[in-house]
Structure formats: structure tokens, C-alpha cells
């Protein structure tokens, strides 16, 4: 148990933690950038003097920053290894992809939670906005359940750098861009062109946002700028259910797709550092 599962899983957390430590100046740069970027977006709501818009934007930017950090940690862990040339060594170790993914995801969740909390604090200092009355604990539950589906998506995206040394990393960003577009992070899905709208229902971010808006009481008519009327967790059970099912589907799907890609890479010799 310890030898086969726990230690190998921990190895990835250990590695990613030390890598993050060594690249700490970049982490600061990105967090700083994320705070500034979030603030400029949330200030659009301020300028309209509309607390609902401000909160919608704030929630969108935070949620997206959390989910995309998750997705990126997983998808980029492969491109990074490809770039360093260590991919072959990780792949020849006696570790199942499930353990591999779990280790990488475990660190990704911890890292994203801390990062999002820091951004939240930075934002609250910067733009005065009250979140009293919002069900923040409920939002955290939604985030964690939503992470499962994003792990699966990250894993599916991670096959791209396995398959193409040259263009894989770029493709993962395109995939992320599509998710951002269709999920209605800052706007209702209904404003999207009709042919794109069905895609919104495939994105876990759509449901995570929907649920979080209810939990924060953003669109509740009883909410005032001073006091929000957030919904209890029981009000978002349908969304939670969908997110959970998506996680349940996407993770095995991601593992399956990944193992197919790995098999293909082993047949065609794509695991090597350069083509």
C-alpha cells in the first residue's frame, strides 16, 4: 500500500512543491498579475455602480482562476517534463497513470486553493465589496467537486504534449480558451451565438458558476449591496450532482484517452525529448 500507492503519489507532490519553490518569483508575478487582472475586471462593475455585476465579475474571475490553475497544473506537468526531457523517466517508473494523475492533482488542488485565497484577499483589499451573507463555504464545496471534472479535462488535454512535442503545449491553451468562451464566466450563456450554446452544457465551469452565483445570492432580489442573501447548499444539489457525474465520467475517460495516447507514443517513438 505505502510502497505501491502512497509514496509514488507523494513523489509528485514532493516534486511539484520543490519546482514551485524554485520558480517562486514567477509564482509571485503570476499571482500579482492575476490580482491586477481580476481587479480591472471587477472594477467594470464598480464603475456601473452595480453590486450584482461587480460580484458576478468577481466570482467569474476567481472561479476561472481556480479552475484554470487546476487544469494548467495537470496539462502542463506533461509539457514541462517533455521540455526537461524527464518524461521517459517518469513513464518507465512502475506507477499507474491513476496514481500519477492523483499525485499531480493533489498538488494542483492545494496550490490552486492557496493561490485563489491570496487573490481573493488582494481583491478585497483593492475593491471594497461586501460578501457578507454569501455562502462561501458552499462555494468551496462546489469548487472542490468541480475540480474532479477539471482533473479529467486536464488529463485529456495532457495527451496533446504527449502526442506532439512541437505543438502540444500550444494546443492545451487553445482548449482552455474554448472552455473560457463557452462557460459564460462573465456573461450569461444566452448571449453566445446559438451554435456555441450547446457546448456550454458540456463545460463543468458552467455548472460551477451557476451554483456559486446562487450560493452567493448574487441574483437574489432580496440581496442588497450591504447584505447578500446566499442560498443554502441544498439549493444547488442539481448542479453539484451534475458536476459530480461529470467528474465520474471525465476522470476515467481522461485516463483511458491518456493511456491510448501513451501507447501510441510508445509505438511511434514520440516520448523522446525531440521528435
Amino acid at each position: 500500500m505505502l510502497e505501491r500507492y502512497v509514496r509514488p503519489m507523494w513523489a509528485f507532490v514532493f516534486r511539484d512543491w520543490h519546482l514551485t519553490r524554485r520558480y517562486i518569483s514567477w509564482v509571485f508575478v503570476f499571482v500579482f498579475y492575476a490580482i491586477v487582472n481580476s481587479a480591472t475586471i471587477a472594477l467594470i462593475g464598480k464603475s456601473q455602480d452595480d453590486f450584482r455585476l461587480t460580484l458576478t465579475l468577481l466570482l467569474g474571475v476567481l472561479l476561472w482562476s481556480f479552475l484554470s490553475a487546476m487544469y494548467n497544473e495537470i496539462a502542463n506537468s506533461i509539457s514541462y517534463e517533455r521540455w526537461e526531457g524527464t518524461l521517459e523517466y517518469t513513464f518507465m517508473a512502475p506507477v499507474s497513470r491513476l496514481i500519477h494523475l492523483s499525485g499531480v492533482s493533489l498538488f494542483a488542488v492545494l496550490f490552486s486553493v492557496v493561490r485563489t485565497a491570496v487573490i481573493l484577499v488582494g481583491l478585497v483589499l483593492f475593491i471594497q465589496v461586501s460578501v457578507s451573507g454569501a455562502n462561501l463555504l458552499g462555494v468551496l464545496v462546489v469548487l472542490l467537486v468541480g475540480s474532479l471534472a477539471f482533473m479529467g479535462l486536464g488529463l485529456m488535454a495532457a495527451i496533446l504534449p504527449v502526442m506532439s512535442p512541437e505543438n502540444g503545449a500550444q494546443a492545451t491553451n487553445i482548449f482552455q480558451g474554448v472552455l473560457l468562451l463557452v462557460s459564460g464566466i462573465y456573461y450569461p450563456v444566452s448571449v453566445l451565438p446559438a451554435w456555441i450554446q450547446p457546448l456550454a452544457y458540456l463545460s463543468p465551469a458552467t455548472y460551477a458558476l451557476e451554483a456559486s452565483r446562487k450560493l452567493m445570492g448574487i441574483n437574489n432580489p432580496d440581496s442588497t449591496p450591504e447584505r447578500l442573501v446566499g442560498a443554502p447548499l441544498s439549493a444547488v444539489l442539481p448542479e453539484l450532482g451534475i458536476l459530480f457525474v461529470m467528474g465520474l465520467l471525465f476522470i476515467p475517460m481522461g485516463l483511458w484517452v491518456f493511456s491510448r495516447a501513451e501507447g501510441w507514443a510508445k509505438r511511434t517513438g514520440k516520448l523522446k525529448r525531440t521528435g
Binding site: P8, W10, F14, R15, L19, G269, L271
Partner: protein, 271 residues
């Protein structure tokens, strides 16, 4: 049937029969016909337990491809591979625990220290971190690296030091089988001797089976019980260094190589 065929009885660590591997490439990204390139065209050889087998071959002869197949990083297109009684590719999972590999490019997380790189690898194989650290220190010391360098980032280390760390990584799990792809290419003569002496000790003390590729005739002769000449994906000759020299009617191994393969071997060529 299966059980009887297990090489336990025959004491073979590696059994390769008719091994073939093809790479398909397109001239340009999406267009153009698929070009087939056979990197291995039916290679057969065996390595006994505790034996060191040296593969010599010019650039592009298929040495690294062969090592990658045995390391479970490539799947072959024909032939049979068995290692320590396990059949590839079907039984790769249990086998992975038993093989250590060193490649010509010392692939590490360059920002991480030697210690962090080694502990990551050790934990990946399920070893306890503190025991692994002690073992790593002991190996590094024997390879002639001072322990105070243990916490330096890999990117600050010379190529020779990185290669020694790579050897340490492969040996942390104490594998019964070592696959070494040009382990001493790019090392200075002193480091090269350190590594060679260490491999000799290892073999004597642990009975480790070693498959080694090299461009260095003297190294092949010093370390290997038997040598195989690989050229254009074919194993053109094999035997002890003495046998090969006798077969070619030459004085040294390099001349034998040229006589038997019809090719010069380029030395000191980084991959």
C-alpha cells in the same frame, strides 16, 4: 508451457529474438508519403544473469532504440523480448521495478537539486525517503562526488557530475538489471574511470546484469564479457573481444569492428 519456458532454468536475464522496430515519418507535416525507416531489422541476442554485454555501433545503428524497447519506452513491431522471465510488452508492469536505465542525455529537473531529483525518483519507486537519501550519499561518494554538492541545482553541475547523478538514480532502486546507453560519453578520463570502476564493483558485489552501449572500444573491452556489433539495425557479429578479433584476424577491437561491419565508428559523438 509458459512456466517451462521461463528463463529461470536457463539463467538468462535478457532474451531478444528477431527484434524489429520501424519508425514512420512524413516528409512534411501532413503531406507526402509515409517513409519507413527500420531502426532494428531482426536483432537476436541473449545476456546471461550477471553478465555484462556491450553493444557497439556507429551513430544511428539502433543502439538507443534497442535500449528504449527494453526499458518499456517503445513497443517493438516484431520479434520477442523477455527479461528476467517477463515478456514485453505484456508484462511490463512488474518488470519496471527491476530495471535501471541511464541514457546519454542526463535528463533531470534542472532547477531542482540533486537531492530533490533523487528523492523524487526514489519515492516514485516506492522507497522510503530517508533510507534512499543514505543510499544515494553512499553511491555518490563512491562515484567521487562530494556530498556538499548534494543541494546544488542540477543546472549548476558539470556534464560529468550530472551523469554520475543519473547513474545514482538508476542504482537507487538496486535493480538486478541495468540498461546503460553511452553512460560515459562526454566524461573526462578520470570520471570515465570512476564510472567504469564503479560498474565493475557493482557487478562483482551485486551480480548485476548490465547491457551497455558505447562508442568507446576500450570501454567495451574493459567492461564487457561479450560484445555485439550493431550496424544499420543488424547485429553483425558477437562474441568475446578475443573471439571477435580472431574472427576478423585483427589486432585490436576497433579494426575488428571496421572489418566486420565495414564501417568506421565515430568516437565521442554526443547524441
Amino acid at each position: 508451457m509458459q512456466v517451462l519456458e521461463k528463463p529461470v532454468a536457463t539463467k538468462l536475464a535478457i532474451e531478444v529474438r528477431g527484434l524489429r522496430k520501424v519508425f514512420r515519418k512524413r516528409e512534411s507535416l501532413l503531406r507526402g508519403p509515409l517513409k519507413e525507416e527500420w531502426a532494428l531489422k531482426g536483432v537476436s541476442f541473449v545476456v546471461h544473469e550477471g553478465e555484462t554485454y556491450g553493444l557497439l555501433g556507429p551513430n544511428g545503428s539502433g543502439k538507443s532504440t534497442l535500449i528504449r524497447i527494453l526499458s518499456t519506452l517503445l513497443t517493438h513491431d516484431g520479434g520477442e523480448v523477455r527479461m528476467l522471465g517477463y515478456r514485453l510488452p505484456q508484462e511490463e508492469r512488474p518488470l519496471r521495478r527491476l530495471i535501471g536505465r541511464v541514457s546519454v542525455d542526463a535528463a533531470f529537473y534542472k532547477k531542482l537539486s540533486a537531492r530533490e531529483n533523487l528523492l523524487y525518483a526514489a519515492q516514485l519507486y516506492g522507497l522510503e525517503a530517508r533510507a534512499a537519501e543514505r543510499r544515494a550519499m553512499a553511491i555518490l561518494e563512491r562515484l567521487g562526488i562530494e556530498s556538499r554538492r548534494f543541494n546544488d541545482p542540477l543546472e549548476e553541475m558539470s556534464r560529468g557530475m550530472q551523469q554520475k547523478i543519473a547513474i545514482t538514480r538508476a542504482l537507487l532502486i538496486n535493480p538486478p538489471l541495468l540498461l546503460l546507453d553511452e553512460p560515459t560519453t562526454g566524461l573526462d578520463p578520470k570520471s570515465r574511470r570512476d564510472v567504469q570502476a564503479f560498474l565493475e564493483d557493482l557487478r562483482r558485489e551485486q551480480g548485476t546484469t548490465i547491457l551497455l552501449t558505447t562508442h568507446d572500444m576500450a570501454e567495451a573491452e574493459r567492461l564487457s564479457h561479450r560484445v555485439g556489433f550493431l550496424a544499420h539495425g543488424n547485429l553483425v557479429a558477437e562474441g568475446t573481444a578475443e573471439e571477435l578479433k580472431a574472427q576478423a584476424g585483427t589486432q585490436d577491437l576497433e579494426e575488428a569492428f571496421i572489418a566486420l561491419t565495414g564501417e568506421e565508428i565515430e568516437e565521442e559523438q554526443d547524441a
